[in-house]
């Protein structure tokens, strides 16, 4: 690896090292392991959203629906079918992906604010189903009475329930897989095509690219990984409630992506970290954390529209 290559890869290496060592240094700086797990899970959700938002240029405001479907899928498998963590994650992800694949054709023809409006409205169906179907989903109280199960590898069992560090690494493995696939896709001709659509949809269409189909695929991929994040989120809390599906949750994902920087691959993770820590801090300090969060949205939009990484990159250029 020559030095130019190394300089290009350096940020990636630093990020992975930080993530790998998170349970150790996070406790040292006054955090706790679950906080790190939450950052990684919500970071995955924001990065998945950004696959669509930042790299395809399609404004989705309804990703909480698929996040929540993943969460309910995982929780319900463990609660009702088989107490198996791996299967829960798999089924949760599949349920969310399937729902996205079915809804996709109805919405991909719309663009911009209209796409945002339809995605957010569709998300509400699942919210009301979760809210109303008391006997199965637990309604407003959420799905309780289950916990994440130990992982049986044949030669050893890993207790992820009582060992938060072990669970953190399980989450990090899923995160690495998902993020790796997204990075690989973005570097492939398919990913380049998505960026071409973002930059100039009309020109892409003239070049003979089936734009709608590409947006549909990008939407399904994005929702697939967001449902994976949702499944992990349910396991993290040992609990799911309808708020995971509510439209305000979608807004949280979008603000994470924007805050970190939509045009950078790692930006949403940074945004998620800041958001999680801020929310953790605000909700412990004041009852009116919603106002402060709202104010935070307004300030980000007015002063950091390019996000933190976007701002840094711009400084580096000038």
């Amino acid at each position: 690896m020559n030095s130019a290559d190394f300089r290009k890869q350096a940020p990636n290496i630093v990020i992975w090292l930080l993530l790998l060592a998170m349970p150790f240094w996070l406790v040292g700086v006054g955090g706790y392991v679950e906080l790190g797990t939450r950052v990684v899970v919500l970071g995955l959700a924001a990065m998945s959203l950004n696959f669509l938002l930042g790299y395809t240029g399609v404004l989705s405001f309804g990703h909480a629906a698929y996040f929540g479907l993943g969460a309910y899928g995982a929780g319900m498998i463990i609660r009702y079918v088989v107490p198996n963590t791996g299967l829960g994650i798999l089924v949760g992800t599949l349920v969310g992906t399937l729902a996205a694949a079915i809804i996709g054709p109805l919405i991909i023809r719309l663009r911009g604010v209209y796409f945002a409006m339809v995605t957010i409205a569709f998300g509400q169906v699942f919210y009301f189903i979760a809210f109303r179907w008391n006997s199965v989903t637990g309604g407003d109280d959420g799905l309780i009475g289950w916990t994440r199960q130990p992982i049986d590898l044949g030669f050893t069992r890993i207790d992820i329930l009582h060992n938060p560090t072990a669970f953190y690494y399980l989450v990090l493995i899923c995160f690495a897989l998902a993020v790796g696939i997204m990075a690989w896709l973005l570097r492939s001709p398919f990913g380049r095509t998505l960026i071409a659509i973002r930059e100039n949809e009309r020109r892409a269409r003239f070049l003979g690219i089936p734009v709608d189909r590409h947006i549909w695929i990008s939407w399904v991929i994005s929702c697939c990984f967001v449902s994976l994040a949702g499944a992990l989120y349910a396991l993290l809390n040992n609990f799911v409630d309808p708020r995971a599906l509510y439209w305000t949750q979608s807004g949280d994902f979008v603000i994470m992506a924007v805050l970190g920087g939509m045009r950078s691959f790692w930006g949403p993770l940074l945004g998620a970290a800041i958001f999680v820590i801020l929310q953790d801090y605000l909700s412990s300090q004041t009852e009116n954390w919603m106002s402060f969060l709202g104010l935070f949205f307004v300030l980000v939009v007015l002063f950091f529209p390019r996000g933190i990484l976007g701002l840094m990159r711009r400084k580096a250029v000038t």
Binding site: L59, I103, Y114, M117, F122, G294
Partner: protein
Amino acid sequence: MTQLVLFDAFNGLIVGAFYALMALGLSLILNLSGVINFAHGGFLALGGYFAYMLIPYVGFWGALILAPFLVAFLGIIVERVLIRRLYGRDPLYSLLLTFGLAFIFEDGTRFIWGAQSLPYQVPGWLLSPLSSAYFFITGYRLFMVLIVAVAVTAMFLILNYTKIGIRIRAGTLDLETVSVLGVNVRMLRSLNFGLGVYLAGLAGVLAVGQLGLQPTIGASLIMPSFVAIIVGGLGSLPGTLLGGLLIGVASGVTTVFWPSATEAVIYVMMAAVLLVRPRGLLGEEGRF
């Protein structure tokens, strides 16, 4: 049974009238400025709370007239100070901004007036049923439908017959040309925003008499308003009106047969409309 269906259909019609009133305001702003105003529900709630504060001083009728204007005034300030900066930028930003505002409004009203439902008085003579067979048709309910009808008619008259209304409609189609023709587009957008928010405030004053005055009232009405716009047809105001009434009645009638699906049914309708007629019932071909 028939009476029960009628009762719920009528209830649905009233709720649908609120959806329509709110959705019309949202539509106006969306069509001219390309902004989805998430804070619309917050403005609606403020309409209710302003009326609550005003009633002891000016009475119900005074509040009905004053409160929406106060809300519109506040809306114009918000537009001038915050939203105006984001015109012409990626719609994502105005979306996030109004989203944050919605949080602030909901939490702010909770902070000022408390989370519990407040008693809200409408004139007593409006509350008595008009006939014993159709006990559910109280004066207040008819009155609400009437006010909504008047407001909507007035809005369409303004849009079709006044200079400002014609400019708003022209701006919806081609803002650049309107600007080149010497119309002050910034002012036009401000006024249009004010008009949209005025409708939300009016809906708020009326709705709290029926649905109760609490901080979450705005959040519960905004999503159905989105659905009303999508079902009726993006960009079409008559469509929005139709969409609002339609989903209101549909969810009212569903209450009779399958109460748990009351909220979900409108989203199923939306899916059906998008499947069969992607531009919405009265939407124009090829605009979106």
